[in-house]
């Protein structure tokens, strides 16, 4: 074992210990395990929301995107700044409804709000499917991380299996309390590491960030702006717009939102999170440094690690690796827990209402194991870059946004049929496009590139919204009729 691996292993044990400590003295009911008994203060909510955003993807995927595509990577900073300010208006009503109706998962939010078991089942499935590419990113990153920091001694598929087991142990022992505690350690580490790398590397190699940008424009004159075709301005605008629109739609954001003690925390977070997003800036600096320094590197996802190994002593590479590990465990555990909660509340409960709480918890955990194994296999066979997988996940969760936002209004004109049909078509388009690798250019070969470069998620979202309104319009009376029947029945019963 070399120095970096020893450091990474030590941090792994520290985080499992933290998980065990965090749960001491608390009875682990579903409500405690998943949403911390709705007792988290503003600081924890901030750390968890930030912690879910700044995962290992921020380190490896973002620097990789800057390395491969230059200015296209700036979309992350742009949509995070815009997306986080929506917290001020969107999260308080979501939180309030969840609190008043004992909602513990995103799919349950839909099933209660739209009074539809079927919609709950559907949202649970979409949520889990959307998490698969993201969890795959985490495992892939873990493989890249350990393979690189062990200087090739441990191949990535071994690292993925070991990492998966570590994540599972971590999820089983800790729950959201453990994630919150580990999140504090992780955020401190990631903040320090990113800041240090982003400031040190440009100064070390070029004297200043300006020197770095001048060096970049010398070898790749167009890397610092968006190109005319492909990842162009219309790609940028459409991607930033839909990503900001759906910023808080991640199923693993839902438990954090419900875990809050009050609504004020979300309004304060809207002030703090945009400026916190500037951290990504320093990851760009790392990616650009690697662009100039490592011209032979094929896979951009290795950029941050390769440049670090070229520049620093093994012990510091170990610290970077440990940061990456924690940045996998925290969001990874939040994702697996939210997937398990959705499956339990919206698939197992409605289908088998007589199951005991103990068996429910057990089946949720079995499901978590199966999901992890599946994602591990994907992460070994999947050849897409981290950034591509991330965009796929995001396109999927975006489909939930329209009917969730409209359901927050007093008089929601959207029916459960409209919501379900819209989402179904939106998700179908995203999945079709992902598997067939369809692009807008293939669909509309004769249109100008302004249209061809649009993020295809826009088409899915627009179709979703149109179908949602149309179906709602035609089913309004059906649903009203059902309500009327319910009322008459309950009147008769009383």
């Amino acid at each position: 074992m070399n120095t970096p691996l020893i450091i990474i292993t030590v941090f792994l044990f520290i985080s499992i210990a933290l998980g065990l400590l965090a749960k001491r003295g608390k009875d682990m009911s579903m409500e405690q395990w998943a949403i911390g008994g709705r007792g988290f203060g503003g600081m924890f909510v901030f750390l968890l929301l930030a912690g879910e955003t700044y995962s290992v993807f921020t380190l490896l995927g973002t620097s990789g995107l800057a390395f491969n595509n230059g200015a296209a990577a700036f979309y992350l900073l742009a949509f995070t700044a815009l997306g986080t300010i929506t917290s001020y208006w969107i999260l308080p009503p979501i939180w309030k409804y969840a609190k008043e109706n004992n909602v513990v998962s995103q799919s349950q939010f839909f099933s209660k709000k739209y009074k539809s078991t079927g919609l709950g089942v559907f949202v649970a499935i979409v949520g889990v499917v959307a998490l698969i590419p993201y969890i795959t990113i985490l495992f892939k990153s873990m493989g890249i991380l350990v393979e690189a920091t062990s200087y090739g001694a441990i191949p990535s598929h071994v690292a993925i299996w070991v990492g998966m087991v570590a994540l599972l142990v971590y999820v089983m022992v800790s729950g959201i309390h453990g994630s919150a505690w580990t999140s504090t350690v992780k955020d401190f580490l990631i903040f320090f590491v990113i800041l240090f790398l982003g400031i040190y590397l440009p100064i070390h190699y070029y004297g200043s960030p300006t020197g770095l940008f001048e060096a970049v424009s010398k070898i790749k004159p167009h890397a610092l702006t968006l190109p005319h075709k492909g990842l162009s301005v219309s790609w940028f605008v459409s991607t930033v717009a839909i990503s900001a629109f759906a910023y808080f739609m991640w199923p693993h954001n839902a438990p954090t939102i419900y875990a809050s003690k009050n609504a004020k925390a979300f309004r304060l977070n809207a002030v703090l999170l945009p400026i916190y997003a500037l951290m990504v800036l320093f990851v760009y600096f790392v990616g650009f440094t690697a662009m100039v320094q490592l011209p032979g590197l094929k896979n951009g996802d290795f950029a941050l690690l390769e440049i670090s190994m070229k520049t620093f002593d093994p012990w510091f590479v170990g610290i970077i690796g440990a940061t990456g590990l924690l940045a996998t465990l925290v969001p990874g555990s939040m994702m697996l827990m939210s997937a398990a909660t959705m499956i339990t509340t919206n698939i197992i409960e409605p289908l088998k209402p007589n199951v005991s709480d103990k068996n429910k918890a057990l089946s949720a955990k079995i499901f978590v194991v199966l999901l992890s194994v599946l994602c591990s296999f994907f992460s070994m066979s999947e050849s897409n870059t981290l950034a591509t997988l991330y965009l796929t996940s995001f396109s999927l969760i975006t489909q939930m946004a329209p009917s969730l936002y409209l359901s927050l209004r007093k008089n929601n004109g959207i029916t459960k049929y409209g919501s379900g049909a819209g989402m179904f078509v939106g998700v179908a388009i995203v999945i079709y496009v992902t598997f067939t690798k369809t692009t807008m250019a293939m669909l509309f070969p004769s249109l100008p590139s302004v249209i061809q470069d649009l993020n295809i998620g826009i088409i899915a979202l627009a179709t979703n919204i149109i179908i949602m309104f149309t179906v709602s319009f035609f089913t309004k009376n059906t649903q009203a009729g059902e309500k009327h029947n319910e009322n008459t029945q309950s009147n008769m019963a009383s």
Binding site: A81, I85, L224, L226, K264, P274, I275, L281
Partner: protein
């Protein structure tokens, strides 16, 4: 048929009456980043040593926080202890 665009309009304007006007400040970053991208997609001039396109995004990320701070302070909602 009271068509879909009517439905949109109703959904949109129904809430406008009660809305606080300073909330509209939050629209500025969206206009600047989404609407401005086509005009600021250039390297020169460097501002504080940073190419202009990146500088523009950084500037608006900071302004997002500033604007939200102003809204946070103006909004009576945040003066209450609970809720």
């Amino acid at each position: 048929m009271p068509n879909i665009s009517t439905m949109f309009t109703i959904l949109f304007f129904e809430g406008m009456g009660k809305m606080k006007l300073y909330y509209l400040l939050a629209v500025l970053p969206f206009i600047a980043i989404l609407g401005g991208a086509a005009f600021v997609n250039k390297v020169e001039p460097y501002v504080l040593g940073i190419p202009f396109f990146l500088f523009w995004i950084i500037l608006w990320a900071v302004l997002c926080s500033v604007i939200m701070f102003i809204i946070y302070r103006l909004d009576p909602l945040n003066k209450e202890d609970e809720v």
